[in-house]
Symmetry: C2
Subunit: 303 residues, 2 copies
């Protein structure tokens, strides 16, 4: 089952010649979730051959332009392509009015409905749930209300051994029970322990998305042991005063969060265009947390 | 004196992997004028190494997203870079409210003032004038109010021959008169005809921008003998019914306008993404008007 994230844009507020504005595409089992939608996101989706039409859920962390200005063009293009399916948008309540006014101003009749889900950026909550995945939101600390996201796979079912199905001539009801962890009781009343019948499932995986925010220890219990943490690193630690002032993080701060929360891998992004040498973000983070990479536009990370 | 246009985006409503959305940058004597501002215009300005900060005038043909959605990000970025100079925007009156509401919604305090100039899309008018250039607007016929633009150099001054300045020991007043076409009268009362004193100036040049519009003969007297005509060609003539229905033009129609108006060069753009083989636009136009080229993103045309 696929679980990956593709970085569509990795610059902070100002785009550079190499980096577009923030957007991530999460593929979980061929369902596609977009996180943030900076200007040009629709170009990047096309450039990196992603399935734009199959995005059904868009999560917006906060209402700064570099995280949301691409939404107007993306929605327009989906409509021009004749989309019919509901598009779910999860964001601060203000965006609902912005979108309504926008499409009224531009006389746009969309070919598909938008279902708007308000995020209360002051509390943690499950925003989305199906049989395989939960998507949680949690508060961040930026200059304006801002939310982080956790993509958390549900505990997977046990994989039943094929030969056991034949050997015990198992019916569908038995199989469902065993996949959920039950033992099997034969018609003679003999208990066959689940462990003999199954292979344990792959551990469920977790992807955490944190941008834009000043560093905050309160996220640590929420993201403990995550498989992949994307954390903004707008500044280097030599500019930590500036980070504090603008409610952003440094590479060192992000790495400390990763280390304390014992995540498995850290990807840094949202680099300020003020820095010429981005490898310094990596050097700084690796002092504290070795398994760090720098986001690049088009980079796909398997979770 | 430089007079050129750089094509920043040349697709119609949907961007393609090769073509961004509509925007042109006109450089007249190192003053920079932007026409239209589709999503991603700020990236293209950077990509093609143009002087974004030196744009002081933006002209918007009409309020369809593919011609204007890049304005929000461009203005935000200029503000983040600390711009102080007035930015003049010429567009349909509705855009003034859209911008006001937009920056209110996004709590954006710009570092510079915007001066908004309303375009009445029903009449021809001079929008901008200085000592070297006039910019005219004129009505087009699209599904919503839409305006074309003419960049018209003013008649240039005669170039006075250096040796004549020395020979007749000319003062500043004399020089100004001669540059404006006067003859010179010596202290002995002898008349020296202007033609002996000067080299004729280069003929003033004209650039015309027409998109989006159905074909309309009424533009012909306005654009007669233009040096460069940019004309939209959303469709091929085999789809002329569709062009009529959607208030767009075909390559053949654009070429007929160019031919009848005796312009010197035609550049076609705004191609619908439905066509795989864009050379067909060129073949079709050249049947009628030989000096035609297809717009490409990044193309710079000297006028």
């Amino acid at each position: 089952m696929s679980f990956s994230v593709t970085i569509l844009g990795s610059s902070s507020a100002l785009p550079t010649s190499k980096r577009f504005l923030t957007a991530h595409l999460v593929n979980h089992d061929e369902r596609f979730f977009l996180i943030d939608c900076g200007e040009g996101t629709q170009f990047q989706l096309r450039r990196f051959r992603q399935k734009t039409a199959r995005i059904n859920h868009i999560f917006i962390s906060h209402l700064h332009g570099d995280h949301v200005y691409g939404l107007f063009g993306l929605i327009s293009s989906l409509s021009m392509l004749g989309r019919k399916n509901v598009l779910n948008i999860y964001a601060h309540p203000k965006l609902e009015n912005i979108l309504k006014d926008h499409f009224k101003y531009f006389d746009t009749d969309l070919t598909f409905p938008i279902k708007f889900h308000q995020i209360n950026s002051k509390t943690s909550k499950i925003l989305y749930e199906d049989d395989k995945l939960e998507i949680h939101t949690f508060p961040l600390r930026h200059r304006i209300p801002c939310s982080g996201f956790i993509f958390k796979e549900k505990t997977k079912l046990f994989n039943i051994k094929k030969e056991m199905i034949e050997f015990y001539d198992l019916g569908i009801k038995d199989i469902i029970g065993i996949k959920n962890g039950s033992d099997y009781i034969t018609s003679e009343g003999k208990i066959i322990p689940n462990v003999h019948l199954t292979i344990p499932p792959i551990a469920p995986k977790t992807y955490v998305y944190i941008t834009d925010s000043k560093t905050m220890d309160s996220v640590i219990p929420l993201i403990n042991n995550a498989d992949l943490l994307y954390h903004e690193a707008t500044f280097l630690d030599s500019d930590s005063k500036l980070a504090k002032l603008t409610y952003h993080s440094t590479a060192l701060q992000a790495a400390k969060i990763a280390e304390t929360a014992r995540v498995k891998k850290l990807v840094l992004g949202h680099f300020s265009s003020r820095y010429k040498h981005e490898e310094k973000f990596l050097e700084e983070a690796k002092l504290v947390f070795q398994n760090t990479v720098l986001a690049e536009d088009g980079m796909r990370i398997e979770i």
